[in-house]
Symmetry: C2
Subunit: 293 residues, 2 copies
């Protein structure tokens, strides 16, 4: 398994890094869309094992709307004129607020509940798993697009996020195997130890220290960014284990040799990416001490 | 039942109308919050009957965030300068984008899944029903606040929406009882007939005809607005019946004598309000032929 795992990583990592570095927002959005939709389908498969039949096609369509909205949002520019006055230049793409996408999702789901031939007693499970797929998989992962779209340092910020997740993960794997004694979450993920989790966090923070100058952040801020992102990422990893436990399976899928499914591979990124994006957006950008190299 | 129903309506309708007409956005937001949270709890009770244990407290907290965000959004002002340039004055309330509220919801739900003592196999059902409660009950109903907040004619637009829903509903009830032959949705709601549904739609459109001058809309637009809102409202009514069917109960609750639960009473409004708000916002406001009396 380890060799398949390494081989898969050796193929995928260069593709992802190349797309993030040279692809621009369009390529990153496309790749994020592919990964989000594969992840969504795996999430629905987990749900089906416990009798929740999600509206796959409709939710995927609305997921595309969410991803489009995030991509369009990166094209908008905004200048703060005074404390609460702001000038916004919309992107060339048509505006599609998240709220409207979610309303369309709800209206379409209502039509499916009422007019499809699905048994009526599946309605609550069907809308539940579909809504959860949008909110717990697609929406957080779509923050990857926003990260890449940050002015000036977007692609660095994205690569930084990928790197601290990967380095933390890898370190946790080896440290956990060698030194793992204290079980962290025996019910959710029996393999995980506190030693591994600590190595995971420290590995990410080390990436923050090393890449702070490259990001034009001061070291303290880069370490906080990587640390918060790492904690969210570890929570994402455990949360995905909880889904699998809930569905009674070991892997979310089998698409990636040695890694399980797509959801298994991006579980940490799903929660790390939005936390990095919001922390950067709210704390760092508003202080005016980041964003311009 | 009919007399209890009439008595309850005779108490509640004046309260709602008075709040909408004299209360201002604050009172409408407060009332919408009370109704949304009661509706959310009834939705969770329906879920519990089929084994989905929602995160009541946490979802209610995030629902309050959604409602606050909608209230804050009504305070913002926006001027279009050129085709894609816009000047925005934020409201005095702190900005809390919907996306951030939803991310906080997801992160908190992850913590509940991982650290509460709930059985792990309930994770998918728990996040599913919680996400659905936010997206299918709270978010659409929160459009009531936006409606009231429309410049100049907000409270008229809100009363118009309430009125066309009530008139359509009432007409459907009597016409359906007297002339109802063709069953519309025997599996979801055996009492509903196509005759009643047609009366429902026509009643709402008649309200559109009568109130068009009061809304400063041309008659055609007011009829379209009432008609689309009515169709969405009838879908909302049926969707709520599907939830109940899914949970195996007749009423969503027993809070309102003669009406069942809160969700039973606002089921049509849940989908009618956001449709009216978006149709008004996108079609009518952008044409510049509405909003100023």
């Amino acid at each position: 398994v380890t060799s398949a795992r390494v081989a898969t990583a050796a193929v995928l990592i260069p593709i992802v890094v190349a797309a993030a570095w040279w692809g621009g927002t369009g390529a990153v959005a496309a790749l994020t869309a592919v990964v989000s939709l594969l992840g969504l389908m795996e999430f629905f498969s987990l749900g089906e094992r416990v009798g929740f039949h999600g509206y796959r096609l409709w939710t995927a369509f609305c997921a595309a709307g969410v991803l489009f909205q995030q991509w369009a949002a990166t094209g908008a520019q905004s200048w703060t004129i005074s404390r609460n006055l702001r000038l916004t230049r919309a992107s060339a793409a048509p505006e599609l607020p998240l709220e409207l996408v979610l309303l369309i999702f709800v209206l379409g789901a209502a039509i499916i509940v009422l007019f499809s031939r699905r048994p009526m007693n599946e309605a609550l499970g069907g809308i539940g798993i579909s809504a959860a797929g949008l909110l717990f998989v697609v929406l957080p992962l779509s923050a990857v697009i926003r990260l890449e779209g940050v002015a000036y340092i977007g692609r660095r910020l994205l690569l930084f996020t990928l790197l601290f997740v990967w380095v933390g993960d890898t370190l946790a794997y080896f440290v956990g195997r060698k030194f793992g004694r204290m079980r962290m979450a025996p019910l959710v993920s029996p393999q995980k130890s506190w030693e591994g989790a600590a190595a995971n966090l420290l590995g990410s923070m080390a990436v923050g220290i090393f890449l702070a100058p490259w990001l034009n952040l001061d070291v303290r801020q880069a370490v906080i960014l990587a640390g918060l992102g790492n904690i969210a990422g570890q929570a994402g990893d455990l949360l995905e284990s909880a889904y699998k436990r809930s569905a009674g399976v070991k892997d979310s899928g089998s698409l990636l040799p040695g890694h399980g499914g797509v959801l298994d591979r991006v579980d940490a990124l799903i929660l790390a990416a939005p936390v990095v994006w919001y922390y950067f957006q709210i704390v760092l950008t508003s202080r005016g001490n980041a964003g311009i190299p």
